[in-house]
Amino acid sequence: MNAMNTTMGRSLWGNAVVRLRRDKTALFCFAVIVIYAAVAVVSPIVFPHWDASYNYRLRNAPPSFHHLLGTDALGRSVLVKTLLGAHVSMTVGFMANIIAIPLGLLLGAFAGYFGRRIDDIIVWFYTTVASIPGIILLIALKFAFADRTLWSGTPFELDLSGMAGVYLALGLINWIATCRLVRAETMKVKELDYVLAARASGRGDVAILVRHIVPNVFHIAIINFSLGFVGAINAEVILSFLNIGVQNLPSWGKMINDARMDLVVGRWWEFTSAVTAIFAVVLAWNIFGDRLRDALDPKLK
């Protein structure tokens, strides 16, 4: 990316950065996202003992000076719980994308570039997966992962019944959108003059893919990052609500689940904090994603 920025004129990325910098709304939304990410990283370090901070005399206390957002059913601070919830949400959003984006980019570029059989197989595969409704596939994947452990006995042991399963399930669903768009774009890009020139000068397929095609379809992956992130946050909330998501960590979905009977008896603080936290970050991602797309996709101008 840096190499591109220094080329003559302004590259796609340079242009996008300049345009995003001028856009006050986009900057604000980006700041919100950065704050959430920072909270996600810092809060488990600052409040390591929140989980055990029971206080039975202060159960379900309304917001007060001492506990700004009240306390939950075990007398623990809801404010801290909300801050800690950011950790789960941000990690899930990030990890799901870390799995989904390379997968979608790789398979999409392969399908679009090589065409024929490879294309047929990849398209068949994603059509198949995409034809299972998302939420059902998500729950089904979590079910299938319920007592699976990958590489057990090695240092890379992955217990799929916990967080890792949520990342993997979301990653295995989210790659399709990226793959579809990258494939379509690759098919266009591979007919362009510079790719033809590279091929005429004898570059191999892999070199053309890595040097010429992937950098020119990469913006699609970046645009999909925001969509995938929002999807992952919402999915985590739903999974935690259904008790098949994150188990031992405070998360916004679990807060809503804990508060399902609270509203009726007038305890609004836990529900409201979780919903507000989700709302703000989803809104920020949505607006920032829109602006990013406008900045990166010159055709939409």
Partner: protein, 444 residues
């Protein structure tokens, strides 16, 4: 046209096959052994075998090359007893197998039958017995060779065969030892079955395909078939989703037309702003808030199906929660159409805007609208998953979630497959409708 439809149909079939493959890998291979949720461990390995046998989980996964040790009890009647179906058939009770020198492991009533069940796998006359069971070798371990193991078989007429397993190392040896036992005298005939090509497809995968295609899967918990379950529970799902979809479509169209009519103005901007905000509120918040509001108005309708009217709380929530997205979608559809030349011509001629909107634009928007509506059909049956769970509506979504917790694989598989079929078929329908109504579109 005909060729297009046939090609599209072939694509759909390939996709459906893919879905069967995916559900098989997910629910049978990755999910692993679920019998522990249905078989009481105190009943021993025998009960588990019977369960596996009944639901065809004892078969090999992809293709069946297995031969079986067949024991035919000729002492009473003349029925064939095969170890493969020992657990479930009455023959199992007529013939008891005991492994004499070994104490049955705690919790297992009949070690012998367990052993017999394990014998089913990968038999050939030269297969060593010790390798066949993945848990306990049939022959005595090397360090206990002082005790010659005996296999005691009690036949239905009370004859007891005590087969010395001292020299028995392969299945062929076992069959020969049983046949040659002095007390046997032809009462129990042991042989190793021949493998026939017809058996090749007697495997978990092909049973899975068969059950999917014929919808003949049965719930582990209730023994009810998938079709019956869908018929019974589906109506509750439909009673939420159909009104929600109809009302949602109507409201979305009204709002979208309104917004398109005032495009660029304050109402347009305000509506877009509100829909964006609405889309950022998590679905769960709509549910909880909806229930809270209903609780304050009329508490007895806030949950459950105590009265039929209570169904309209989830319906209202589904409509409100879905409105943001669909208004945005239809607005873009209508705006795309409004910017076309024929609209400009009509306006230049002096046709009033409402007339253009309702007479021409909406008609031309029908295709994308239809696509959107048809693509929502699969969600009719399962769409209200969370709502059903939360409001205690006994629909298919609720059943799906219950089956996930109770690990009822046939129901999970069946419902996933059914929804997917609906989705594939509705996509197929949309594409064909497109080809019929829009001559510009043809598959390249």
């Amino acid at each position: 046209m005909g060729r297009y439809v046939i090609r599209r149909l072939a694509q759909a079939v390939v996709t459906v096959f893919g879905v069967m493959l995916v559900t098989f890998v997910l629910f049978r291979v990755i999910a692993g052994d679920v019998s522990s949720a249905y078989v009481n461990m105190k009943l021993g390995a025998e009960a588990k075998l019977a369960f596996n046998e009944k639901h065809k989980l004892d078969r090999p996964e992809i293709l069946n090359f297995h031969r079986r040790l067949v024991l035919t009890d000729r002492s009473q009647g003349n029925f064939m007893f095969s170890v493969a179906d020992s657990g479930a058939s009455k023959a199992a009770r007529a013939l008891e197998l005991h492994l004499a020198p070994y104490q049955p492991a705690p919790g297992r009533s009949s070690q012998g039958l367990t052993m017999a069940g394990r014998l089913v796998f990968n038999l050939s006359p030269t297969t060593p017995l010790a390798k066949m069971t993945d848990r306990k070798p049939l022959t005595a371990p090397a360090n206990q060779s002082a005790l010659p193991p005996f296999l005691v078989i009690t036949l239905s007429d009370g004859t007891r065969l005590a087969i010395n397993l001292f020299a028995v190392t392969t299945c062929g040896d076992l069959a020969r030892a049983i046949n040659g036992d002095p007390a046997n005298r032809g009462r129990l005939v042991a042989s190793i079955s021949r493998w026939t090509p017809a058996k090749l497809f007697d495997s978990q995968f092909f049973w899975h395909l068969y059950e999917n295609i014929t919808f003949s899967g049965r719930s582990y918990a209730t023994e009810q078939s998938i079709l019956q379950t869908i018929a019974e529970r589906g109506k509750f799902s439909l009673s939420i989703t159909v009104p929600a979809m109809a009302l949602g479509l109507f409201l979305a169209m009204v709002f979208a037309c309104l917004v398109a009519y005032y495009r660029g103005g304050f109402i347009d901007k305000f509506t877009v702003f509100v829909t964006v905000l609405g889309m950022c509120i998590p679905y769960l918040a709509y549910m909880l808030l909806g229930q809270w509001i209903m609780f304050n108005i009329a508490p007895k309708f806030a949950a459950g199906l105590a009265s039929p009217a209570a169904i309209y709380v989830p319906v209202a929530i589904a409509v409100v929660a879905g409105l943001g997205g669909s208004v945005r979608f239809y607005r873009v559809v209508i705006l795309n159409e409004i910017n076309k030349d024929y609209v400009r011509t009509a306006r230049a001629k002096g046709v009033p805007l409402p007339a253009i909107l309702f007479k021409h634009v909406l008609k031309n928007c029908m295709l994308p609208i239809l696509t959107e509506v048809i693509s929502e059909i699969p969600f009719l049956i399962m769409g209200a998953l969370l709502l059903e769970k939360f409001f205690g509506v006994p629909g298919l979504g609720d059943l799906f979630l219950t089956s996930i917790t109770s690990r009822d694989v046939p129901i999970i598989t069946g419902l996933t497959y059914f929804t997917t079929i609906l989705y594939v078929v509705s996509l197929l329908l949309t594409d064909i409708l497109y080809a019929v109504f829009d001559p510009r579109i043809r598959l390249q």
